[in-house]
């Protein structure tokens, strides 16, 4: 009885076009925000932050970014890892070059730099389509990783070739570096996730998002009805890379602290984020969160059950994880090609009609 539009009268256009038109959804959203901001920071510990919450939040940003490009605009990209690396290295160079500027500005700037690089690698998308483009984005992946590995300027000529995040503070509390408390890192990521998800949600249901979806559904037809493919595709690349760049910068500065580019931002990362949006649901912001949560929790869960519970060797658990992730992807594609988001949508539809079946 709770989940109804009935009795929820909209008296203005603003109220009519709000993100969550159903009152219950709205309250649920506020409740989630209240728990995330008001309760979790006080009960968080290092294990939960590092194993679950931080990767979940950061991957959620990356997944939203890729979802904008692949799910909304239909351009499959396998270069996510490379773009995350751009964000990380841009953030590192900015942090070391301008130590007095706030880290938040650096993070946003890192996103901007990644957006520029993304547009550059998005240019071929105007000529190349479909699989050819998917493979072409691999060029970005391999070239960028190689660049950060081989050009010493990017890692400030450090002997190990790694980049290490120096300690930076927000409002007097350290958020990067080894001394940063778990709750501060968590809150920083949470703020970014909240703001960026809101931006993405509103971009995708506005004019820009409709242009992207028109391009996705059929680019020639979209062009004929007046969508500029150049602007639509490149803006998708730019916005997507902006998100992914911020995710990469957070991944390096807040989560890992020290990064070796081939390991942290390799091709596996590209696939991981792609899997997140497939399992979560292409073209859905909620799906990006669901997919990120699923693929972050799955290894933790498997590790706890198989290694912790049954006492199996950890390499076996790692191989099983591969099989399970692969199997699940196939299962989802066969059973529910629209991912977890579609299940969620169906559940909501049922809820609205409950207790009647139709």
């Amino acid at each position: 009885m709770l989940y109804r539009e009935a009795g929820d009268f909209k008296t203005s256009y603003i109220a009519d076009s709000q993100t969550f038109p159903i009152r219950f959804d709205r309250w649920r959203y506020y409740a989630v925000l209240a728990v995330a901001f008001g309760i979790v920071p006080f009960v968080i510990n290092d294990y939960w932050a590092n194993a679950v919450l931080l990767p979940f939040l950061i991957y959620a940003i990356a997944a939203i970014g890729l979802n904008i490009l692949t799910g909304y605009c239909g351009q499959v990209s396998l270069g996510t890892g490379g773009f995350m690396a751009v964000g990380a290295y841009a953030c590192y160079k900015l942090m070391t070059a301008f130590p007095d500027v706030s880290i938040i500005i650096h993070l946003v700037l890192a996103g901007g730099i990644t957006a520029a690089v993304g547009v550059l690698f998005g240019l071929p998308s105007l000529r190349i389509k479909g699989f050819y483009l998917a493979v072409a984005t691999l060029a970005a992946q391999f070239f960028l990783v190689w660049l950060f590995n081989r050009v010493p300027w990017f890692y400030n000529y450090s002997a190990s070739g790694q980049i290490t995040a120096p300690e930076r503070t927000v409002l007097g509390v350290a958020v990067t570096g080894p001394e940063a408390p778990a709750w501060a890192a968590y809150l920083l990521c949470l703020v970014f996730v909240t703001v960026l998800a809101l931006v993405a949600r509103n971009l995708t249901r506005g004019k820009q998002g409709r242009q992207w979806m028109a391009i996705r559904d059929m680019d020639i037809a979209a062009e004929i009805i007046g969508v500029n493919p150049l602007a639509a595709k490149l803006s998708a690349f730019a916005v997507s890379s902006f998100f992914i760049g911020i995710a990469g910068a957070l991944f390096f500065a807040v989560y890992l602290g020290a990064v070796e580019v081939g390991e942290a931002y390799g091709i596996q990362k590209s696939f991981l984020v792609l899997f997140m949006i497939i399992i979560g649901g292409l073209g859905s912001i909620f799906g990006s969160f669901a997919g990120a949560a699923f693929l972050v929790l799955l290894p933790v869960f498997l590790k706890n059950v198989l290694v912790g519970g049954l006492g199996w060797p950890s390499d076996l658990a790692a191989h099983l994880e591969f099989m399970i992730v692969g199997g699940l992807i196939i299962f989802f594609l066969v059973a529910e090609p629209h991912g977890l988001a579609q299940l969620w949508r169906l559940a909501k539809e049922k809820l609205r009609l409950w207790p009647f079946p139709y």
Binding site: R127, F131, V135, A139, A221, M323, G326, L333, V334
Partner: protein, 328 residues
């Protein structure tokens, strides 16, 4: 100068040989893509899986030994036999055919009519699954594969070229045999596609699914056949690469090397795969030799992609690909 020149020639020759191996992997892609429109990312993992299975069968390893030992607390590892290479290769080919059936039965039968991109992602899932399966079945340690192919520097070529030019060319025996076997395989495949009943049916399916179906071609059979062929091609590629650098995880990455080859040659063209493979092989070796030292080396990781990318901007369907016609 002559020294430099001979080095360059040697680099080109070795690039050609490497290109043949790339082409071999690309060939598997083209077969499946032509017949079913599936862009098969798992081709590299198929090669890894085939090579792992081959080594496992030759050495008489117990499949899933690691898992069984962990679950039941037993200590089994080997059956205690060593099979001759040829028999093991035949058995592995049978395994690949069975795998082809399973892939068709459990995955792609349910995905008929889906968008190409969904099929592509399913093959990525398949790649992950097979990677885990291969490691669990046969163990993840690096294995040596020796099916009796000659290895090491070819002494004859070294001596003859030294007499002629005063500079001995270094060419690996393995590369020569790989080239010959790949050439034979390609010839066989082309003959098969042109002159046998099944080959004709395969081309018919590639041309038009529905028309082929209406004249009585079994799509199911053709698709299983194509996946089996791709599996066998993967087995050959796995043997070559496995002998060259050991059977290990990185073997599956050769698929990533084959992708730019495909882009360059066009996804639907068998000659394209071969020519593309040769261009990429020579191109990346020459670039590494000439430009590599100036920019810090290891350019082989990305050069092929950038080359293919630049090329595609000017010719979006690849060298020999069918012209892309777009309709609304």
């Amino acid at each position: 100068m002559p020294e430099q020149f001979f080095w360059g020639v040697e680099v080109v020759l070795n690039g050609l040989m490497a290109g043949v191996l790339y082409a071999l992997v690309a060939l598997g892609f083209v077969l499946i893509f032509k017949a079913s429109g599936i862009f098969n990312y798992s081709q590299g993992v198929l090669a890894l899986f085939a090579a792992l299975t081959l080594v496992g069968i030759m050495d008489g390893q117990v499949p899933f030994a690691h898992l069984i030992n962990a679950a039941l607390g037993t200590e089994i590892h080997h059956f205690g036999w060593h099979l001759p290479a040829l028999l093991a290769i035949l058995l592995t080919a049978l395994v690949m055919v069975a795998l082809a059936w399973a892939v068709q039965r459990f995955i792609f039968r349910h995905l008929v009519g889906q968008e190409p991109i969904i099929l592509f992602m399913a093959t990525i899932g398949l790649a992950y699954f097979l990677e885990g399966l291969g490691d669990i079945m046969w163990g993840a340690d690096i294995k040596n594969l020796d099916v009796g192919l000659p290895q090491g520097i070819n002494a004859t070529i070294d001596e003859v070229t030294y007499e002629w030019f005063g500079y001995g060319f270094f060419i690996d025996n393995l590369d020569i045999s790989a080239t010959l076997i790949a050439a034979a395989l390609v010839t066989l495949l082309i003959l098969f596609a042109q002159y046998t009943k099944q080959g004709r049916a395969m081309r018919a399916v590639a041309d038009d699914h529905q028309a082929a179906l209406s004249v009585g071609v079994s799509l199911n059979f053709i698709w299983i056949m194509v996946w089996s062929l791709a599996g066998v091609v993967a087995l050959v590629a796995g043997i070559m690469w496995g002998t060259k650098m050991g059977v290990q995880f990185s073997l599956s990455l050769i698929a990533l090397k084959a992708l730019p080859v495909l882009m360059l040659g066009g996804f639907t063209s068998i000659p394209g795969a071969i020519v593309g493979g040769l261009i990429i092989g020579v191109g990346e070796k020459l670039f590494e030799f000439l430009i590599g030292p100036m920019v810090g080396g290891a350019t082989e990781n990305w050069f092929a992609y950038v080359l293919a990318l630049v090329f595609l901007v000017f010719r979006p369907q690849g060298l020999f690909g069918e012209k892309i016609i777009e309709r609304v």
